[in-house]
């Protein structure tokens, strides 16, 4: 039953990724510019027509788009994402270095966001009209409005420059021997900024959902029938969580986009930074690789939220069977 559901979702995910690859390949190729111009970068003033033709020929971008796409897909199915134009090494090798860093930042942030938004949101939602309720509503608007790059710079100024507590860039110290404590120190600031940037929206969402449920007829009916307040709360939370998890699934892709800014300011060597660089420099194989892997991560996280939703919402289970 549930395995069939998962199989179906995975299949759907694969279809999504397939179309994503066609779409991104088309968009990348429709954008102006070519790898030769990108290779020259700041020296673009000295790129002559002959040089441009020679380098593009070497990279094979003088071939038609469809031909290149078919070749890319065929290689991709074999697990080969090609060779990065700029770095001259395998895209899979580059991704292997970057993915753990991005996941480290992402997972730590999302866990903290979940914890804080649930605690704050539930507390505010169950105490409608209280000072706490108003405080959370206000706070979430403030957090949501703070530009994350500004907050990041402010953190660096306070905690690195003024106080000297935390390192301001990278994901480990130069010697690379600090171990877990060193990594944690490097994580604190970027994760804090990620959490502050997102926790407001999630807390507010759960807060509103809890209020909505609390005021619905079934709750009033249950309460008037003398249902225990604890049991009632449990039911409300369960029902409020379903749309919350849904919301989570929808907003997770935005996370990967938003982390680009954080990664740049903190020089965090993740996927965000490398994909921006790849896009700017027309490094087609690397860019396709980062889009592909981000697509896979997004699809995976959506499947996970679907399964979670399924496990707490019995009415969905009926649809599955």
């Amino acid at each position: 039953m549930i395995s069939r559901f998962i199989a179906k979702r995975v299949f759907q995910g694969m279809v999504v990724i397939f179309f994503l690859s066609i779409l991104s390949f088309a968009i990348i190729n429709a954008a102006p510019g070519d790898p030769a111009t990108a290779l020259y970068g700041p020296l673009a003033d000295r790129l002559t027509t002959e040089e441009r033709a020679r380098i593009n020929r070497n990279y094979g971008v003088d071939r038609p788009v469809t031909e290149r796409y078919i070749k890319w897909t065929a290689n991709m199915l074999k697990g080969d994402l090609g060779v990065s134009y700029l770095e001259g090494r395998k895209v899979t090798d580059i991704l292997k270095e970057r993915i753990p860093n991005t996941l480290m930042l992402f997972l730590n942030s999302i866990i903290l966001i979940l914890i804080f938004s649930l605690i704050l949101g539930l507390k505010a939602g169950f105490n409608e009209g209280s000072l706490w309720d108003k405080f959370i509503s206000g706070l979430s608007v403030i957090f949501y409005s703070i530009p994350s790059f500004w907050l990041a710079l402010l953190f660096i100024l306070i905690f690195s420059v003024q106080l000297g507590f935390l390192p301001s860039s990278g994901n480990k110290s130069i010697s690379g021997e600090g171990g877990i404590i060193d990594t944690a120190k490097h994580l604190i600031m970027p994760v804090s900024v990620m959490v502050i940037a997102h926790v407001g929206a999630y807390a507010r969402f759960i807060q509103e959902k809890v209020k909505e449920e609390s005021n619905s007829h079934y709750v009033t009916a249950a309460r008037s029938n003398g249902m225990e307040e604890r049991k009632l709360m449990k039911g409300i939370i369960k029902n409020a969580l379903v749309p919350f998890i849904n919301y989570l699934g929808i907003t997770i892709p935005g996370f990967f986009g938003g982390s680009v800014m954080i990664e740049t300011v903190f020089s965090w060597p993740g996927l965000g930074m490398i994909s921006v660089k790849a896009a700017n420099s027309k490094d087609y194989p690397l860019l396709m690789g980062t889009i592909f892997i981000t697509g896979v991560m997004v699809v995976l996280s959506i499947i996970i939220t679907d399964i979670l939703e399924l496990s707490i919402n019995p009415s969905l289970r009926k649809q599955v069977t």
Binding site: D45, Y59, L157
Partner: protein, 526 residues
């Protein structure tokens, strides 16, 4: 509910531990030496993609690799791996004798075949080398014996010695490998003062002192390139001491100047900005008065003070910071009256809209600036505003440079410079033979017989005084018949921790302040 939350959290923790765990294992293989001895950390603006002088210039190349020749503090070439060299009378053959006993970092001796391999690889069609056009004049290169190399040229080419500062790579590292994708590009081996230790992708590159280096060295044991793309963060890390050296933006200088830890060095560069006219796409530029008027109408001092915040110099010649500079040329000091008078005299009459026209042609053109270079965009906007005062209608077109071919633009905010031999970036830009030549940069199709002649003569003479004379003539003629409206030279701003000594703050730098760490092996740290 609790159950679900705990399942969720456990899952995420496990996943987190799994993935990040792999990350740690990969990076555990680090070098213990990095902590020992004196370490200098350079906050680099961007991360290099590969370290191989054949393929591309890179920050760290200057320290890992050495070439036959090397620039000294005056930007003139001196033999480096070459012990001496001779030039044939027809200036077509260069004969280099190599130093004996020069070692690569893998302990193998550097021999003539490595030099031949390096140059031949650059010229190889299949190799994606960015510097191939610079070696276009090389006809052949051969090893006479293990310690002697002959380079034959197609035409006399004095900047060859400049070009041969290119780092020599060991041939034996590329046996049967594709240079474009070789492992070497990520783990380079050269004969320079620092050897490659590790490249922690996205974070830093670590180099250690090479004990068998043949030259003079200071006390730096470890040189680290730390990649910090954000310039605000670079300035902050200079203050915290996390990094010792970084390129700064003009807006940061005032604050850092007050710091007792950091010295801000203001270093001249041969990197100029100006407006390139395209004679092929726009007829109005054929009238020299139009070009002169625009030069007079541009307040260059205003650009230095307003756009560069004072960190620059008014430009009048493309080789102004070169030893062959001729200051005795028309400098086009800001003068709106002169600009108006020139245009009036040439028959450009102001229309109702304030735009001048002549024979039904409006005094209008579009000015392209790369949108990823703030200074260029501001200069374009400024020139457009100034031009309007004397009846020009200049449309600023700030766009992604990748979406544009310079040859197709009507006018272009250009950036060139000749920090080294005066022929470099003059002949290829202003000589008319370079309009359609594969390696030429005369994108504006500028033609002037006198300029052609003096550049050609300067290129084929080796007598210093004669060359100076030819370049003086070239500058005079270029000022009279401008190919560019010269605006400003940029000043590079380097913040350096006060514990570092021995660096050179006088040497004229290249594009984007390139070249500051040229003699880093001789620096000392307290």
């Amino acid at each position: 509910m609790k159950k679900i939350a705990s399942i969720l959290l456990t899952f995420l923790f496990v996943a987190s531990a799994m993935f990040t765990g792999c990350g740690k294992q990969q990076t555990a293989a680090t070098n213990a030496d990095a902590n020992k001895g004196k370490t200098l950390v350079y906050g680099a603006e961007s991360e290099d993609e590969k370290l191989n002088p054949i393929l591309t210039p890179a920050y760290a190349n200057a320290l890992i690799f050495r070439g036959l020749m090397r620039f000294d503090e005056n930007n003139t070439t001196k033999p480096d791996i070459a012990e001496s060299y001779t030039v044939s009378d027809d200036k077509l053959t260069y004969d280099f004798k190599l130093k004996k006993g020069v070692k690569f970092h893998d302990d193998k001796e550097l021999k003539a075949e490595d030099v031949v391999f390096t140059i031949k690889s650059i010229l190889d069609e299949k190799v994606n080398s960015e510097i191939k056009p610079e070696f276009e004049q090389v006809k052949d290169v051969q090893a006479v014996n293990d310690y002697e190399v002959k380079v034959a040229l197609k035409k006399p080419f004095p900047p060859l010695l400049d070009k041969l500062t290119i780092g020599i790579v060991p041939k034996h590292c590329f046996d049967g490998k594709d240079i474009n994708t070789a492992d070497f590009n990520q783990k380079p081996i050269g004969a320079g003062p620092f050897k490659f230790v590790k490249w922690d992708k996205g974070n830093n590159i670590t180099l250690n002192k090479f004990k068998d280096f043949y030259g003079k060295t200071g006390n730096i044991d470890t040189f680290v390139f730390k990649f910090i793309p954000d310039y605000n963060v670079r300035a902050m890390q200079l203050q915290t001491g996390e990094i010792d050296l970084a390129l700064l933006e003009p807006s940061q200088v005032a604050k850092l100047d007050k710091s007792d830890k950091v010295k801000v060095n203001k270093i001249p560069t041969a990197d100029y900005r100006g407006i390139m006219y395209n004679f092929k796409t726009k007829d109005i530029f054929k009238d020299v008065n139009v070009r002169k008027a625009l030069s007079y109408a541009t307040d260059k001092k205003g650009i230095v003070d307003g756009i560069l915040l004072g960190y620059g110099e008014v430009a009048y010649s493309p080789i102004q910071l070169n030893k062959y500079n001729n200051p005795d040329v028309e400098k086009y000091e800001y003068n709106l009256d002169k600009a108006n008078a020139l245009l009036d005299a040439a028959g450009w009459k102001k229309g109702n809209d304030g735009i001048r026209e002549k024979d039904g042609k409006k005094l209008t053109f579009s000015l392209f600036a790369r949108n990823n270079d703030e200074v260029r965009v501001k200069i374009a906007e400024y020139v457009a505003a100034q031009g309007k005062k004397v009846g020009f209608d200049i449309k600023v077109d700030a766009r992604d440079p990748k979406a544009m071919k310079i040859k197709d633009t009507e006018a272009f905010v250009v950036g060139w410079g000749s920090p080294f031999d005066a022929d470099d970036n003059t002949y290829s830009i202003f000589q008319s033979s370079q309009i359609n030549s594969g390696s030429g940069y005369n994108f504006g199709s500028y033609i002037d017989a006198k300029v052609d002649e003096s550049l050609e003569k300067a290129r084929t003479t080796s007598d210093e005084n004669e060359r100076k004379q030819y370049y003086a003539e070239f500058q005079k003629e270029l000022a009279e018949n401008p190919a560019f409206s010269m605006d400003v030279y940029l000043t590079a701003l380097y913040g350096v921790n006060k514990r570092v000594s021995g660096y050179n703050d006088k040497r004229v730098l290249g594009h984007h302040g390139e070249g500051f760490i040229w003699n880093a092996e001789e620096w000392n740290i307290q």
